[in-house]
Symmetry: D4
């Protein structure tokens, strides 16, 4: 009596570690009814996509603007399709887009799970407050998804 | 011409009696196009899930907070996925979470069916008022679902 | 390139003529990707369902209240599931529930098609104004659905 | 500690009796913080407003369509501005617009109070079910507004 | 630069202690730009209001139903008008309506502050989880309101 | 881990060039999980549909009104079903309906991609501003959809 | 009993004729409780505002983009603040932004009044269909506002 | 004809420079109809408010959690009250809460203006893309507000 079909889970944030792969492996091993959504994780491709598809720009600002627009076609759609949003913060880059996605998800009423090391706790307090759970490992996220989707 | 695909019906509230099983049996026997959703009904697992997955807490308040968060990943998602919400009040515990779920469902505009003994009528008057039907037995709930989904 | 999967079309209103059957026949003959939803059209069953399932009432008002609640579990769910709402007004009874359904659908932003004889035009002007089309025959409704769903 | 500023109360429905005046008198006598909103109650003006302002029509249907549009500029705005919606059904005309307004208000989540004679109970059961109270006299409506706005 | 006009703060829940008065006193002493809203706190009046205004009922269920409807005209309007919702749980009665109001407020995205003794922590864990703060005294609530509205 | 099922992409605007076919071809060749939705692109059929199905009109205004209503049953439904909306502006006709669809999509929060020649840039600046990307060729739109739906 | 306070009426569209002034004069003469909102109607200022405030751009596209963004801060806010939206189409320029505003308003459920010459009827049929009234003169708009706000 | 009453403008983000004061001065000098809202900008008070009002915590995570909750009572209310949201990113701290606020505002459909130095352009590209304007000085923000609220 547990489940309600397949859940869409959007994995937002850091693209420089293997956390998405570890969640995907865990979901697959556990056979969870979960479809994982994600932004493009190929960093150069993500940075270049605007000018790559739509033509070159002389100004860095507008090159970024174009690229961010194309990426947002994907990320905003996935955020709206998601039942649950997991947001990962790593130790590199500022990752303001991860925080932006968390705010976007919060205003839409989506359940949020944050994933980060303990040392980021103070800096992330507002976002952790908006989340329903804060994990430190991808495996904990898998356990939360297992509990949420199939636990009797 | 009756139906519109499978309906998601969320069964909120009491976890210490067999009412969900009786509804599930009735739905199955009647062959209704209904998928039943439910919170985790294993009480100890539900109480411990926060610290079990995310690590121990010294304070009872925060242990409960963690556990309630993980449970809410499941219950809020299911409440949003539901076409109809059934809320059961039993005679044990205060079951404030059942009442909370009813309020949450009401504000989302979900049709609500309450299920409780006649002796709780006065205490539950605000919630029964927000419901479209108040039943005393799981079998009545099955009849309502049959009427709603397949009656010509 | 026409379609977007199966459309849910809710057929609200009059239950004493064969208009739903004629639309169903037309949809089937044309092979349209349309699933038709409808309230219970067995008038006595609809009037009695509250007391039939939930127990007798001494007051007519509360008997009606109970029955209307059980029917609303079905109709409100179907109105929310619908992509398009067809509302039929016939020449018998006051059919205030048909008008209520039209208002409910309008506030949800659902496209509305009204179906009634020309003689009801003045009385139905507010509702026809809220509709995107006003038909006089079920066959016209089928043509509108054909145009909306599969016309290239 | 009772009130939250002035409440907008929209008085929908019948325009051929003095019920709005009686509510207005009651509200004024009681000094309630209530602003009453209403459709145009001058029946001929309401019927003619479309062609009066926007030019004549040869077809009755389009004359009504024009008039209903202009009236809807007023009524839809007021329904959205309203905190509470009172819907009156009288014994003349079909008053489908009153039922439409009730459905519109219900889908917007506005509290509804219906006002009609007991003999209309069966015909209005779906709408009374969607209301939070059903009154038979304007004075009862005033009492409900008094209780809602200023009772300690 | 702190404030944004007067805030509406709805005080839901327990009606048998002086907690609303203590918050009102604190707000007044501090001169906060806060308007306090509340349900009717006269328990007998609240229980009798349905039959008092709308006529007697033979069945307790319907008497309660009528009363709860009239009270909901007030409480649902105030919940929607509120910027912040404070929910108080005391040690008497089951107070399911307080929990219902909390769920209703949560689904509307209203910031919630809960107020209760530490001994109720476990029973209220789901509701405290949905709140942004959990206080034990009315004075703490006043401090939160002071911080939220006028602190530079 | 890229996708979230099939995406509905609504192709609004110009009906006098082969841009929809070129996008459809590109989507098919790339095997993208995209279902393309579109208005009726048979211009005469679109102009005549109102009077064709619902009967003749003497006034051009009302003939257009009828036709626009029937078309809106289709277009409004598809706009709501869409995950992404592509809006094409060509060099013939005023195409106000394309701009209307863009505004409708924007208010619903749908990601928008505009498609037009560079010479229309100044005239379309408000709409391009509301879009997440502006393309000049159908092939660029296909690339955006590929990136959004299947790029790892 | 007519009014509900001051109405915000947003005047979208054409900026090269005196239609706004004529509506403003009419509203003032009639003493209507209407506050008129409008985009910046100084065409050069509107075109230059982006680079004027935020710095020059080499590309026309981005100059327009900047300008359209600053204008949208104003127009989107006013569209959301509006109770009623009037959209004027003149005979110069393509005025796609007027059509965009109409679509935006329609999706938000705002009552729309269109204002244009009869010769634009066919080209504007989709937008007129989404409007509740179509006027040819500013004076007709004033009459509609008078009827909507103060007519008894 | 420019304005629509006073606008609420929420100033989110950095609390360690005088940017809010400069905007406030500019707004005052220009006499704009703008009310500025802001989070608590006293950093220690903001960090301590949870434990200060609600009692001490042993764990840093929960101390932060408490504090973030109390701050969110203020910030979420102000974000919902705002007509426009300005988000400032400075060169100190990670300011994930500023990015979170931007995402929250974006999902609510609020017009956003970002304010930061050019060197942060690449890191903030997703958030600048969601904004309607990106400024580098507080004076530019004042000019945008002047244009949006009072420019004829």
């Amino acid at each position: 009596m547990a489940g309600g079909g397949t859940w869409n889970v959007y994995l937002a944030g850091e693209i420089h570690s293997d956390w998405r792969r570890r969640i995907a492996d865990g979901v697959e091993e556990a056979g969870l009814p979960v479809k994982l959504l994600a932004p493009v994780t190929d960093h150069p491709a993500s940075d270049e996509v605007g000018v790559e598809i739509l033509g070159p720009e002389r100004e860095g600002f507008w090159k970024d603007h174009k690229g961010a627009g194309v990426n947002a076609v994907r990320t905003q759609t996935m955020l709206r399709q998601a039942d649950v949003v997991v947001v990962r913060f790593g130790d590199r880059f500022r990752q303001w887009n991860a925080a932006f996605d968390a705010g976007f998800a919060a205003a839409l009423g989506k359940p949020i799970v944050t994933l980060h090391d303990a040392e980021l706790t103070h800096a992330l307090k507002e976002i952790d407050r908006a989340a329903l759970a804060t994990a430190e490992t991808p495996e904990q996220v898998v356990e939360i998804l297992r509990y949420a989707t199939v636990k009797e």
